[in-house]
């Protein structure tokens, strides 16, 4: 039997299977069960198992005080950073989509750069740029210009959320029908007024989405924050410090577990409340449309103001986002011309750990991406095609988002409690896979569901009337039309998994991923020279750049029909 016939047979078999209602529902049921068993329930149970340990810290006011103030810091910083990112992202997205210069496509690409720098490397890069008295802009002022602490954390979070916010807003502006704005102009509104009264209310869902993404990222990020925080503590850094304190023998296991559960519960509870609030009231929130200030708004719209707006936008982008993010390239290049490079390739000294951690990181990323795709696909179809009815599908849609808004270190902590207590012999790698699966699950499901939703039902129905069975419809119509958006969703999952630090440090004790290694080097937990750290970061950036570049080549000009 040749290959074609075999293929044909398999397709036929799958078609027969897919036509059976029982098979279809078994598949959807499996997806829902896996979602509950692997993603949603373990973190909740993990917290529940250790609930009692809170007692251990309730009579330690100092620990409670630290936990509370660190959580407060987390939300204050997330709020500040998200507001700043949206404010800075709007004029940038505007410039990219509406500007007339041919250089804008380069700007568009540059705005993505912080995205390809894994956050741990980004943290180190910012530390060098803002804080190191010998290098960066600080060297010009004869001392650190920004000391480690909350301001550096704000700068860091602003930088890593910037490309995400700009990407969301650029997408929204490209989809936005310009006629609304033009209608407003012909009715007498100057450009700024048109933006305020028409464009921004219509784009409000995207503005909220960008804000939420930035907010959630800021709450979750651990590795880079730990690098630049110094003595400052936000939620993830507090949890990390407690863990470090426990392994250094400074705090007891009971105190460590109690403080961890206490801080995690508060983090999770507040962030769920905030997101629920945004979800319920976000759509009702109306921007005030009462006043009109024709003269002020005219001044803001034309020539001078627009010019200085663009100038400020560019300065913020270059000085606060681009240069600091890429600054680590400097020691990386220096390292290339010293003994550090041959050392690295020979794997001597700290490097053998480094290469091993890269293997772990990329292997883990690949496994998580594939598994996520397999268990996420039926869920995405359920949500996109509302297979379980409108309200149940909407409920699933909300539930799927939960891992996104739970700070990843808190998620990791509770996952560890659950799996380690239930299955003490579980290998760490499996635990890591579960943790990363939980964190990345929303990304893969959301991106696939969005891609499926864009395909009109007519297309499927046309295929069915022409005689295609369900599996054939999927493989010949839906897959070809969505493969590029699914591929970019998969890449997002992969890069997220590779740079994830919070949940990773929470669940493992011996296994080390690349960002964990970088954090250990920078914090001096493992002694490494600055050239070694620089090169380590540089190689990490190079690898993720190659992966993203390859993706751009594959998807360029495709996937749009």
């Amino acid at each position: 039997m040749n290959r074609r016939m075999l293929q044909r047979k398999i397709t036929d078999a799958l078609n027969v299977l897919s036509s059976k209602k029982a098979v279809k529902y078994a598949m959807y049921l499996a997806a829902v069960i896996l979602f509950f068993v692997l993603i949603l329930v373990p973190p909740i149970l993990g917290i529940a198992i250790k609930w009692g340990t809170i007692q251990q810290v309730l009579d330690q006011p100092q620990i409670i005080g630290r936990a509370l103030s660190s959580v407060a810091n987390s939300f204050a910083i997330a709020l500040l950073v998200s507001a700043l990112d949206v404010l800075a992202g709007i004029p940038m997205a505007w410039l990219i989509t509406r500007g007339k210069s041919k250089w804008l496509s380069i700007l568009d690409t540059l705005a993505d750069i912080p995205f390809i720098v894994p956050t741990a490397a980004l943290g180190y890069s910012l530390l060098l740029f803002w804080n190191d008295p010998q290098q960066g802009i600080s060297s010009l002022f004869g001392g650190s210009i920004v000391s480690t602490g909350w301001l550096l954390v704000v700068l860091l979070h602003f930088t890593f959320s910037y490309p995400v916010v700009v990407r969301v807003l650029v997408g929204a502006l490209l989809d936005y029908r310009k006629e609304y704005e033009q209608a407003s102009r012909t009715l007498g509104a100057v450009p700024f007024m048109a933006f305020r009264t028409v464009t921004s209310p219509i784009l409000k869902p995207s503005l909220i989405a960008a804000f939420i993404m930035s907010f959630a990222r800021s709450l979750s990020e651990t590795g880079a924050t730990f690098i630049v925080a110094g003595a400052f503590e936000n939620g993830p850094v507090f949890l990390q410090n407690m863990k470090q304190g426990f392994s250094d023998g400074l705090v007891t296991q009971a105190t460590y577990e109690g403080a961890t559960v206490f801080a995690s519960v508060i983090l999770i509870a507040i962030s769920c409340t905030i997101f629920a609030f945004i979800r319920i009231f976000g759509s009702k929130l109306k921007l005030p449309f009462k006043g009109m200030w024709p003269n002020i708004e005219r001044k803001l719209s034309y020539s001078k103001a627009a010019f200085s707006r663009n100038t400020i936008t560019m300065i913020v982008f270059v000085a606060i986002v681009l240069l600091p993010a890429l600054f680590v390239a400097l020691p990386a290049f220096q390292a290339v011309f010293t003994k550090t490079l041959p050392d690295a390739f020979l794997g001597s000294g700290v490097w053998s750990d480094y290469w091993q951690s890269l293997l772990v990181s990329y292997g883990l990323g690949a496994i998580v991406t594939v598994l996520g795709f397999i268990i996420g696909l039926p869920m995405a179809i359920l949500i996109a095609r509302k297979k379980l009815g409108k309200s149940l599908s909407a409920l699933l849609d909300i539930l799927v988002n939960i891992p996104l808004i739970v700070p990843s270190i808190a998620l990791g902590v509770s996952l560890k409690f659950f799996w380690k207590d239930s299955f003490p012999l579980m290998p760490e790698m499996l635990l890591l896979i579960f943790a990363h699966l939980a964190i990345t699950y929303p990304y893969i499901v959301k991106s696939m569901a969005a891609a499926f939703e864009r395909i009109s039902m007519d297309m499927e129905e046309a295929a069915r009337t022409l005689g295609a069975k369900p599996f054939s419809v999927f493989s010949t119509i839906i897959m070809p039309l969505t493969k590029y958006s699914i591929l970019s969703g998969a890449i997002m999952v992969f890069t997220r998994s590779v740079s994830e630090t919070g949940a990773t440090v929470a669940v493992v004790t011996s296994l080390r991923t690349a960002p964990v290694v970088i954090v250990d080097w920078v914090k001096g937990i493992v002694p490494a020279t600055s050239l070694e750290i620089g090169l380590g970061c540089g190689l990490l950036i190079l690898l993720s750049f190659i992966i993203l570049f390859a993706l751009r080549l594959v998807t360029r000009g495709k996937g749009r029909y």
Binding site: E179, Q182, R185, P191
Partner: protein, 365 residues
């Protein structure tokens, strides 16, 4: 008082010339249509007048004021979009009040204006509804009301009826014209529908491939088309190819394909290749063979009953055919295969020199 003038206006999109050196003068308080097939540049011209896009070269005047460097909000125009572009986050009433509000009128004055224009478009119910809850006809009325409420003296309409079904379209088009006339507005109405343009316009500019081919009243365009394209695009015409065998004082004798000779009127020299354009209703039809002046003989090939009219396709021995339209009530029925004699008055046929690019290319849209 706003007349609208454009001079030497050119607009390119990349390699494509959307508008090629356009000159046009639209009078104050005129209802003017820009008519042409899709891609002819009519919408581009309207958007240039509104200031939604900028010309590569040329001048635009609204009233005495040169406006090609003036932003749209300062041009004092109202614009009705093909897709209506009603703001989805505002109710119908808020949409209507938007113009007065951004012009910073006080609320009372804005509401008075809103009431007046809604009176005009005869829409008073469902004002608290959002655009996605309204029918196409209602959205259209709100879109017009919104443009009028801004108080502009020039109204620009981009295929304003394109999204409506036939019945509503026919009702609303006369209402729009009446409102423009009642308010003494200068209106420029873009459409690809020649029946729509003919029925509501004072004058029409017919456009083709970025150029204006003829400007005139509906009657002028119908009765005196200046080109084969206009003869074809406005109303309906039969085209018969032939050559001039005799020409004196503008009276022509033309030999058609197949050797039949007919008389016509025009300034074409002897020996020239020509195309004769004859409207379907010009022909007189009689069953059988009759001796008349200026006749063509053929057989009925096809009959279509269209209610008010009957349409016959009549094929000649040369295998060329023509369409003939007769009022259905006045008609003694003729049947397929009948031999008929057609005749027409020489001065009612239009004679055009045979186009260099070929007949099909010339009349293609």
């Amino acid at each position: 008082m706003p007349d609208v003038r454009v001079a030497n206006l050119t607009k390119k999109f990349g390699e494509i010339t959307a508008l090629d050196n356009i000159n046009l003068h639209i009078h104050d308080q005129e209802y003017f249509a820009l008519l042409g097939p899709s891609g002819c540049g009519k919408t581009t011209l309207l958007r240039l007048i509104a200031g939604l896009i900028e010309p590569d070269s040329g001048e635009i005047y609204i009233g005495e004021k040169r406006v090609d460097n003036v932003p749209p909000e300062a041009r004092d125009i109202g614009f009705v979009f093909q897709t209506f572009a009603l703001f989805p986050h505002m109710t119908a009433w808020e949409n209507v009040l938007y113009g007065p509000r951004v012009k910073n009128f006080d609320l009372k004055k804005a509401e008075t204006i809103g009431d007046e224009v809604l009176e005009m478009v005869k829409l008073h119910e469902r004002l608290d509804a959002y655009p996605n809850e309204l029918s196409g006809g209602m959205m259209q009325r709100i879109a017009v009301a919104r443009a009028l409420a801004a108080g502009a003296k020039t109204l620009l309409l981009d295929e304003p009826l394109g999204q409506l079904d036939a019945k509503v379209r026919n009702e609303i088009r006369y209402e729009i014209r009446k409102m423009a006339k009642d308010l003494n507005l200068t209106a420029i109405h873009v459409t690809h529908d020649q029946a729509e343009a003919m029925s509501i316009s004072d004058r029409i500019a017919v456009m083709k491939k970025g150029k204006i081919v003829q400007v005139g009243t509906p009657q002028e365009l119908y009765l005196q088309p200046s080109s084969l394209f206009v003869a074809h695009f406005i109303g309906e015409s039969n085209f018969l190819e032939g050559s001039v065998v005799d020409s004196s004082d503008g009276e022509l004798e033309i030999e058609l394909r197949g050797g039949v000779k007919v008389d016509a009127v025009g300034g074409v020299g002897k020996g020239e290749r020509v195309v004769l354009a004859i409207r379907p209703e010009i022909f007189a039809v009689e069953v059988g063979t009759h001796r008349r002046k200026n006749t063509l003989r053929g057989k009925i090939d096809k009959i279509t009953f269209e209610g008010t009219f009957i349409r016959y396709v009549i094929r000649f021995e040369s295998q060329d055919s023509v369409v003939v339209i007769r009022p259905s009530l006045a008609e003694t029925w003729m049947s397929i295969g009948s031999e008929v004699t057609l005749s027409f008055e020489p001065k009612k046929a239009h004679v055009f020199a045979y186009p260099a690019a070929g007949l099909m290319e010339e009349i293609s849209v």
